[in-house]
Structure formats: C-alpha cells, structure tokens
C-alpha cells in the first residue's frame, strides 16, 4: 500500500521571526522540516511498517524544500517528490491543497495521505482538510493514534474536550498531533541514502493543473505589540522571608 506524507520546509522554531517593512524575516536561522510534519512522517512510517507498504514524501516549495524531503527520506521514507513551480509563490492553503491533491493522485495508487496538524509558519491548520476535499477523500484530523483494519482507517482524535474515536474507509487523509508519540531520528543509513537521493521536481504542467488563484491574501503582517515588562528582585535574609515577601507581592498585585 502506498502512503503519501506531505511535509513543509519552515523556519526553525528557535528562529526569531520579525516583520520588517511588511516582510517576514527569520534572519540567518536555518530552515527545517515543519516539526508537526515529523509526527506525520512517523505515523506514515508506522502504517507502512505494519501494512508492508511504502511511503512517498511530497513537499510543495522551492529548492530549499528538498531539505525537508531529505529529512523525511533519512527518517525512512522510500522516495520523495518536490512540487516546484514559480506560479506557486503566492498561493493560499486552498490552492496548496489542490496542487497537493494533484500530486498525491499522480503518485498513482496512494491510499492514505498524512499531514502534520499544521505548519508553524502559516499556522492555518486547514491544509489537510482542504486536500481531503480536493481529493474527495474523508479526513480524519488531529489523530493521536492510528490503526488499519482491512480497508478501514481507525483513529483516536485528540480534542480539547477529550478523545474521540473515528474511522473512515480508504482512501483517506490523516492529520497527526503530538500525542501520537515521538518521531524517530533520521538513521545514519537513512542519512546516507537521503544525501545521495535525486529528488524529482514536478511542475504544475507535470501535474496537469492550472496555477490556482489565491482567494485569501495577506494584506498586512505585523509584529506582536511590544509588552512593557519590569523586573523586581525580591531579596531577604532567609528563603522564608523572601517567600513571604513574594506571597505578599502576589496578593498585592492580585495575581491570586
């Protein structure tokens, strides 16, 4: 069974992201695979291991996105494809979903498409559901555990209110949350394979789809409002005295 996992290249979580003149910048911080997508790769690999299937990683982006794909290959994915086209520069999530759906279909016989719950740059969290819509497949989102029973995909969804068990027939789209379990590290053997891998790039023409127009545009990007913070060191002759002063201060400020 072929499983596709969609990954995105994003700025490192440790990067200091700022807006300068309406342009987002993360300085010289490295680009990394979207951390949520590592959980998706882990889920895809576990499904493949249990079903004897293969995993193809797909990313939509420029040349730099190959790094995310190589990370996925080093974790154990069988192959990878980059979807790269200049016309994709300003697409929204709906456009990305249409292109991803076309790429998933072009892989031939994919039965499951796995996503991370969201990307840490755009933070929309809707691409998995939109891709399912474009494919016409059911979407099982926010999955904390996944199992396959014949042609039925069963998940336990992690929701704020609790857990929900859900299932859907294949083919289906999955999105994975952190509760799924720690993603594996790339193996050294996988790293060697990934470093040597030639990753094919598909254009929109290869996929047979037109450049999707963005329905949602970012009109303005702003830094979060600066917060005024003052520090006050609480001192005292003993830990007890310091604790008592701290408690008084907390009560005074109505923190408690």
């Amino acid at each position: 069974m072929k499983i596709v996992v969609c990954v995105k290249q994003v700025p490192d979580t440790a990067a200091k992201v700022v807006v300068d003149g309406g342009v987002v910048s993360w300085g010289d911080a490295p680009l990394v695979i979207n951390p949520w997508d590592e959980y998706a790769v882990e889920a895809a690999l576990q499904l493949a291991e249990k079903s004897g299937g293969t995993v193809t990683a797909i990313s939509l982006g420029g040349e730099a996105a190959k790094e995310a794909l190589k990370h996925a290959l080093a974790m154990g994915c069988n192959d990878a494809v980059l979807v790269n086209d200049p016309a994709l520069a300003d697409i929204d999530t709906q456009g990305a979903a249409r292109v991803l759906a076309a790429a998933i279909q072009k892989t031939g016989d994919a039965r499951i498409a796995v996503f991370g719950k969201q990307a840490i740059d755009g933070d929309s969290g809707v691409t998995a559901a939109q891709t399912a819509r474009a494919l016409g497949w059911p979407a099982l989102t926010l999955a904390a555990s996944v199992s396959l029973d014949g042609d039925t995909l069963k998940v336990e969804r992690a929701m704020e209110e609790g857990r929900q068990k859900a299932e859907a027939p294949l083919p289906a789209v999955l999105s994975i949350v952190k509760d799924f379990g720690e993603p594996r590290y790339p193996s050294f053997m996988g790293i060697r394979k990934a470093a040597k891998a030639e990753i094919p790039a598909w254009s929109l023409a290869d996929l047979g789809v037109a450049a999707p127009a963005a329905a949602v545009t970012w009109k303005e990007i702003l830094n979060p409002p600066a917060r005024q913070v003052t520090n006050e060191m609480i001192t005292g002759a003993s830990p007890d005295e310091i604790a008592a002063k701290l408690a008084d201060k907390i009560m005074e400020e109505k923190v408690l």
Partner: protein
C-alpha cells in the same frame, strides 16, 4: 581549498544534536551530581549507530568518514564530556585499532559486535605507576602454549565497568633491550576468568561517566587475540592515540562552543549597571577569545580528520589539535564561569561542570606537556614519524559503504 561540509556531515550532526538535546541535556546535571552514568546512554548510542559511525558497513558500522567522527564528538561533548569519552575509548582507542591492525578473524569477532553496539570496548594502557611513561608499565603477558597469561592492573580506564572488550597493552618480553620493544597488544574479553573491574568515584569531572580500573590475575588470553605482532604493542598504542586524541580534540572543541554559547546567552540576559553585561568590553573580550579558540580548534581537528580520510599520517597534526583544543576548552570554561559571576560558581548553571569536565582532557591521552615536547621535537627535527606496518586505512566511500 573547499571548507564545505557535505550534506551527510550536516545531517549526521543534526541527528546527534537532536539526540543530545532531547535525551541527554535535560537530565545530565542530575547524573553528574549522582556520579553515575545514565543507564540509557550507551544503549541509545548503540541503537542510533553512533558507536559504529565511521566503521565500514561490512564490519557492522555506518560507513561514514573520519571527519564525521570528529563532528559527532564535537556534538556529543557539547552536551557532556562523558558521551565523547565513550567515543574516545570505544571507537578511537579500540575499534579503530582493530580496523587498522586486526586480522579478518579479529575484525569479525571484535570489531563487528563493537560497531553494531552489541559490545562496548575500552582501552587498557595506563597503570597506577605508569602514565606518560608507557614503557614503564609492569603488566605482563607470558606465552604458554596456545595462550598468554595476563597479569597486572590498569587504572583510569574509561568504561572499565561497562565494557565487554578491552585492548590491553602488556609486557611480553621481560628482557627486551629497549623496554618499548617488549610490549604487545591484546584484545581481551572482560568476562574472562581472572578479570575484575571497578569504577573510581570522587573524580573532579566526567562524573556522569564510567572511569575505573581493570585487574588481571592469571587471565588466559588466546594467542589469536594478540593484536599485531609480538613486540608491536608500543607502536600500536601510539597509533591508537592518534585516533583517541582526535576524538578528544574534536570533543574539546564542542566544549569550547558550549562555554561560548552559555556565555553569550548569559551576557545577553544579565544586566548590571543598567545594561546587558555583554555591552561591557571586558566581557566582550572573553567571548571574543572563545570565538577565536573555537574556530582554531575546529580547523585543527578538521585538518586532522581530512588527513585521516586521505590516509596520511597525522600524529603531529592530531597532537596539535588535541593540545590546543583541550587547553583552550579549560580556558573557555574558566572564562565562562567568570562571565556568569557568582552563578557560574553554582551547579545551577552548566559552566562549572564544563570546567570540571575540561580538566581531565588536559591530562589524559598525552598531557599538554607531552604534546609540547612532541611539537618542539618535530620543529627541531628531533622527531619524525616512520611508516607503520599497518596504517589506518584511508576513507574510501565505496568500500566503506558496501555491504561486503
């Protein structure tokens, strides 16, 4: 000249960094306080393939080059010196010696399980009464029929109580005109009858690691476990040090980086006299020296690793890399404490551990004084390196990565 690291190098570093940041750094202070090695460290290093990183795939390793070994050691010691020490003894001093000097049978019996991480390996050279004076050792291995009888004690042995195998140097010829020529090297299984081991406590540093002793009382070592030829023990031991020192030098480079990063973070956070202490020039000077030391130490070990890849003798370069990096790591850690002020004096911060951990490497695998003598001897023309009967094989990507 190309200073670019390959994608394989960078991805290997990233993988080891992920491991140390997730599984080592969060708890290392507690294990250091307990003076115990965290039980998961060796199994995880084995499982992840770190213990066989630069050994050919056909011998159970991961097939990476010698530069990767240096990069991995830098990354491991960034987290804690004890992890790099594992690589120094298991890989640098033992497994690479078996790769260099071992017979095919020895490689199958010792190197394969070591590279796979199924067995851990250590190195027994130093004795209670013989450190820098290697030829002054008193351990003996006397041949009796098809085996040698090993007696003696080895001291300050990393992984002494954890290892399954040890490369042990002992005197086989009690009457050799030059005592150096009377030494031989053996691959010893530490579950053999007559072997006892133990850990030393109360060390200044590397407290989250295993450092101990090996004692041999009438231990029968099969003749086929002789590494190299009889009388080659000193040369083998010195060739082991070319590899062990490489791991120590590259590891110490990581310790400099750890001191630098900790100092930069603290200097940007801590305020005095109304501004960040990083704004003060004397703090900047300390940080500038750390940057300088880091870059120099890294260039030195990279050159040494490159020479190993090329199959070039690197005793001189590796000695220089080890001497410089370990001295510089001690200085960097001391200055990092100074940047941290009183907090640096407490184990609430990592920098006091960095200082304690840095001191050992200035002593073991050739004290800084030994390296100074070596460098002066090379410069003065008193010392040259002759060819070895078995050289460390040059890195050949195709051979290294082929299954057989």
């Amino acid at each position: 000249m190309d200073f670019t690291l390959s994608q394989e190098h960078n991805m290997a570093v990233e993988m080891v960094r992920n491991f140390t940041h997730k599984e080592v750094i969060p708890t290392i202070r507690e294990w250091d306080r307990k003076q115990e090695m965290a039980p998961h460290i060796l199994p995880r290093m084995a499982e992840l393939g770190i213990l066989g990183i630069n050994i050919p795939v056909r011998y159970g390793g991961q097939g990476f080059d010698y530069i990767t070994l240096g990069l991995v050691c830098e990354e491991l010691e960034y987290a804690d010196t004890t992890l790099r020490v594992v690589m120094s003894v298991h890989m640098g001093l033992n497994s690479m010696a078996v790769l260099q000097w071992g017979t095919e049978d020895q490689k199958q019996r010792f190197l394969v399980p070591q590279a796979k991480g199924e067995k851990y390996a250590c190195f027994g050279l130093t004795e209670p009464g013989a450190g820098s004076d290697v030829a002054g050792m008193t351990s003996t291995a006397i041949k009796k029929g098809d085996h040698y009888v090993l007696n003696g004690e080895k001291m300050w042995i990393s992984l002494a109580s954890k290892a399954h195998h040890a490369l042990v140097v002992a005197r086989t010829n009690l009457n050799a005109a030059d005592p150096h020529d009377g030494l031989s090297a053996f691959l010893v299984e530490l579950d053999s009858k007559g072997v006892t081991t133990g850990d030393i406590h109360g060390k200044m540093g590397v407290r989250a690691g295993s450092t101990g002793w090996l004692a041999f009382q009438d231990v029968k070592v099969p003749a086929e476990n002789l590494l190299g030829e009889e009388g080659e023990g000193f040369k083998i031991a010195m060739s082991c040090l070319d590899n062990g020192r490489y791991t120590v030098g590259s590891g110490a480079t990581g310790l400099i980086r750890a001191s630098l990063d900790a100092s930069v973070k603290y200097a940007n956070d801590r305020k005095a006299f109304g501004r960040e202490i990083g704004k003060f020039q004397l703090v900047q000077q300390k940080i500038a020296y750390m940057v300088q030391s880091y870059e120099m130490a890294r260039l030195l070990y990279m050159k040494s690793g490159w020479m190993k890849n090329q199959g070039l003798r690197n005793t001189r370069e590796t000695s220089l890399a080890k001497w410089f990096a370990t001295d510089a790591s001690f200085d960097a850690a001391a200055e990092a404490i100074q940047v941290h002020g009183a907090y640096g004096f407490s184990d609430e911060y990592d920098v006091e551990r960095y200082l304690r951990n840095s001191k050992g490497a200035v002593i073991y695998e050739g004290t800084s004084e030994i390296h100074q003598l070596m460098q002066a001897s090379y410069a003065l023309g008193y010392r040259t390196d002759g060819d070895l009967r078995c050289e460390l094989p040059a890195y050949d990507e195709e051979y290294w990565q082929a299954d057989s």
